[in-house]
């Protein structure tokens, strides 16, 4: 830009200088030629008057110094030169043929002519006048030609041109600085702040406007990104976003931790392999980047994760893959439990039904003696009872599982409940020669009476059932510092070390061979645990084999 400004200004100045000098010289030349002509004619008139008054000698007397440029000639009518101010008249040729002389001889009062001399580069003006004595007076004045005149001033012109050029350069420089300086010094971040010249202001205000809109968009984007980051960081699920070359675009903390990445390393824009070399995971990613959704359950850090890899497509091309890691450890465990539960349920239901069906078949086939019918019917009856108890327990458990058994919470005195339950158990306890005692004081907790009754019954029933002849059961209910404590202690067979936690599992029996004798369903303690959970209570168990068991239920404060 600076160069262009320079060039155009210099060109302008030069053209102006040349044009001006040419025009001026042409005008001056034309004018001076006219002036010369007038002067020559006036001179001629003066000389003719002088000649008529002063006679022949006048010209001789006049012969002072006419200079190179001025010449006087007197010519006879036959063309002979009588006088010449420059040369010897005798040596001069006949002047009859000269146009100016011819013009006078042909009768005109005066004649003139202009002749150029190419060699001398001059132009001569001839003026002839008829004198009274019949001779012809001719005056000549020589001038340099127009081109010559121009040439003669050329050095001056060059000088002027150089001066003008120099000035122009200086000016152009200043000008360029004036134009470009503010442009260079422009603060594009704050274009409206400093005052550049006003022609720039539309541009600057436009830039300022765009700056503002870019700033606004940047803030929006940053906010959105921050939102996404917070969202993904706080997800417990692992999230991993890859581009189509399997380089990491986004990874949240959970994914980074479960894939074993260094916590303080930034994996963004690194290849996925830098993070994990798990081959199964690589297969999933390959599938997703190939355009298919893939899913698998893989172990990471001792837990099971369901990994879902889906392709990310835009405009029908695959842009990357999204991986989601869901912790399914608990779900898998729960599924496992459910599977075991249904297997157990069918087994437990089958056992009494097989007996019933067997006895009934014998009865129907008439294979039973009349005297034994009563005994067989009794067995069928007791097995059906077991079946019913089992189904009842399963119904109870499933209700507790679903949470449909929720009852209105009301104050319940555990001590009272304990006494009632012990009363109900008096007969079976007596049969097994077990002494049951209740101790403690009125202990009121908030809860569902039916459920708490069930809990108490199951605990005491177990304590009586798994006892030895002559043993004892002590039920105690007492308010504690933080809530209430219920304890059922027996002097029974106890539970082997290491199995105490398993007794709460559904259908778990420590001694599987005893289930028939005691008539239990294997669900009692599961129900106890569920009811305790619903009441926010903690169940703990202490047991020593062949010494006894103590189960404590700690209720939270009301």
């Amino acid at each position: 830009m600076r160069k262009r400004i320079f060039r155009s200004m210099c060109l302008l100045a030069l053209t102006a200088v040349i044009l001006t000098s040419v025009l001026v010289s042409a005008m001056v030349y034309a004018r001076s030629f006219t002036e010369m002509k007038t002067q020559v004619q006036r001179e001629a008139a003066l000389i003719s008057v002088g000649l008529s008054h002063g006679g022949e000698d006048y010209l001789g007397a006049l012969q002072i110094d006419y200079g190179d440029d001025f010449r006087i000639t007197r010519i006879r009518r036959d063309g002979m030169v009588l006088f010449d101010s420059d040369a010897e008249p005798g040596r001069m040729e006949n002047h009859l043929s000269r146009p100016e002389v011819q013009a006078v001889l042909s009768g005109q009062w005066s004649g003139e002519a202009v002749r150029r001399s190419e060699t001398m580069d001059t132009k001569t003006y001839y003026y002839a006048l008829a004198l009274a004595d019949g001779t012809v007076l001719r005056l000549a004045s020589t001038m340099r030609s127009a081109f010559g005149a121009v040439l003669s001033v050329a050095p001056l012109m060059v000088f002027i041109a150089v001066v003008v050029l120099l000035l122009t350069l200086l000016l152009a420089r200043r000008m360029a600085n004036l134009i470009i300086g503010p442009l260079n010094a422009l603060d594009l971040e704050h274009p409206e702040r400093d005052g550049a010249y006003e022609e720039l202001s539309p541009l600057l205000s436009r830039i300022a406007q765009q700056n503002r809109s870019i700033g606004r968009q940047m803030r929006q984007l940053t906010a959105r990104q921050e939102e996404f980051r917070l969202l993904s960081e706080n997800m417990s699920e692992g999230l991993l976003l890859l581009d189509r070359n399997a380089a990491i675009l986004t990874i949240n903390n959970s994914a980074q931790a479960l894939l074993g990445g260094d916590a303080d390393r930034d994996y963004a824009s690194q290849h996925f392999l830098q993070l994990s070399r798990d081959l199964q995971l690589q297969k999933l990613i390959e599938k997703a980047l190939g355009g298919d959704r893939a899913e698998d359950t893989l172990p990471f850090r001792g837990r099971q994760y369901q990994v879902i890899a889906s392709p990310v497509t835009a405009d029908e091309t695959i842009r990357g893959a999204l991986l989601l890691f869901l912790d399914v450890t608990e779900r898998q465990q729960a599924e496992q439990m459910r599977r075991e539960f249904s297997a157990n349920v069918s087994h437990e239901l089958k056992t009494p039904l097989t007996s019933i069906s067997g006895y009934a078949e014998m009865l129907a086939g008439g294979m039973v003696r009349d005297g034994d019918i009563k005994m067989f019917a009794g067995r069928i009856y007791s097995e059906a009872g077991r079946l019913l108890a089992l189904i009842q327990d399963i119904i109870k458990l499933s209700r507790l599982d679903e949470g449909t058994a929720q009852e209105q919470a009301e104050p319940v005195d555990l001590y009272e409940v304990a006494k009632q339950v012990v009363e109900r158990l008096a007969l079976p306890a007596a049969e097994r020669q077990v002494a049951v005692t209740v101790e403690g004081e009125p202990t009121v907790v908030l809860g569902a009476p039916a459920m708490l009754d069930e809990l108490m019954f199951n605990l005491c029933d177990n304590a009586v059932k798994y006892n030895k002849a002559g043993g004892s059961v002590t039920v105690s209910a007492r308010p504690a510092r933080d809530g209430a404590c219920l304890a059922v202690r027996d002097t029974g067979i106890g539970i082997p070390h290491g199995l105490t936690e398993r007794v709460f599992e559904r259908f778990y029996r420590v001694d599987k061979s005893r289930s028939k004798d005691t008539g239990g369903t294997g669900l009692g303690l599961s129900i106890v645990k569920h009811i305790a959970q619903i009441h926010g209570a903690q169940v703990s168990i202490e047991s020593k084999e062949q010494v006894g068991t103590c189960i404590r239920v700690k209720f939270p404060p009301n």
Binding site: A246, H271, L273, Q274, R277, D278, L279, Q282
Partner: protein, 218 residues
């Protein structure tokens, strides 16, 4: 041009990590097949070897292409030449894992109980760790880890001696089971060799980072 070269170098890196992951998988699978008498796993590991060989050839081709087309110098040249050396060791580890798996199939087929040498399990775990660490060192360009791998080789060598002593005692007590003992000695030797290859990998990783191989520093 440089951009494309950088991309190819990154690809080389990724392919090497992939090969590393494959041999890790193979050696872990071989150890599991051996220690748990899992014939199915052993067959799976034996099948991995073809993939490993193919990968080795792919990487080799890529390295040669880079050498010819890009004429790398300095660090880039080091990276590529180290890669060429590393894949040889990695491929050997893959072969030896397959060999272990083969013996595992044989042992599982005979249904003989595992020998009373606890050290073979330790050895398997130690070599898996060495291989894993050497690949890790490559991924993270971790000099400290490469040196740890080199040092750890002594542990594996010591374990090899222990296994050997165990087996000598075992043969002295039950001379009938000599064949099984020999098989186990082979397995132990394979593990020991894998440890050496892992050491080599670690040394080449160090070379690609610092430009100095062990022979020059000693």
């Amino acid at each position: 041009m440089r951009n494309r070269f950088d991309m190819q170098l990154r690809q080389l890196d990724c392919e090497l990590i992939q090969l590393g992951a494959m041999i890790e998988h193979a050696i872990a699978g071989a150890a599991k097949a051996l220690l748990e008498c899992d014939a199915e796993k052993a067959h799976e590991v034996a099948g991995l070897d073809d993939g490993i060989d193919q990968k080795e050839r792919d990487i080799e081709r890529l390295c040669l292409k880079l050498l010819l087309q890009q004429q790398p110098v300095a660090r880039d040249l080091r990276q590529i030449s180290a890669a060429l050396k590393m894949i040889t060791d990695m491929e050997r580890i893959g072969d030896q894992a397959a060999d272990i798996a083969e013996i595992a199939v044989m042992l599982a087929g005979r249904g003989e109980p595992l020998l009373g040498s606890a050290h073979i399990g330790d050895m398997a775990r130690a070599t898996i760790r060495m291989v894993s660490d050497s690949v890790d060192a490559f991924v993270k360009k971790d000099l400290e880890l490469t040196r740890a791998v080199v040092r750890y080789d002594d542990v594996v060598d010591d374990l090899f001696d222990e296994v050997k002593n165990d087996l000598i005692r075992f043969i002295a007590q039950n001379s009938a089971c000599g064949e099984q003992a020999i098989d186990f000695l082979m397995v132990a030797k394979y593990f020991e060799r894998i440890g050496d290859h892992a050491t080599n990998i670690a040394e080449w990783v160090e070379f690609s980072i610092t430009g100095q191989h062990k022979d020059e520093t000693e």
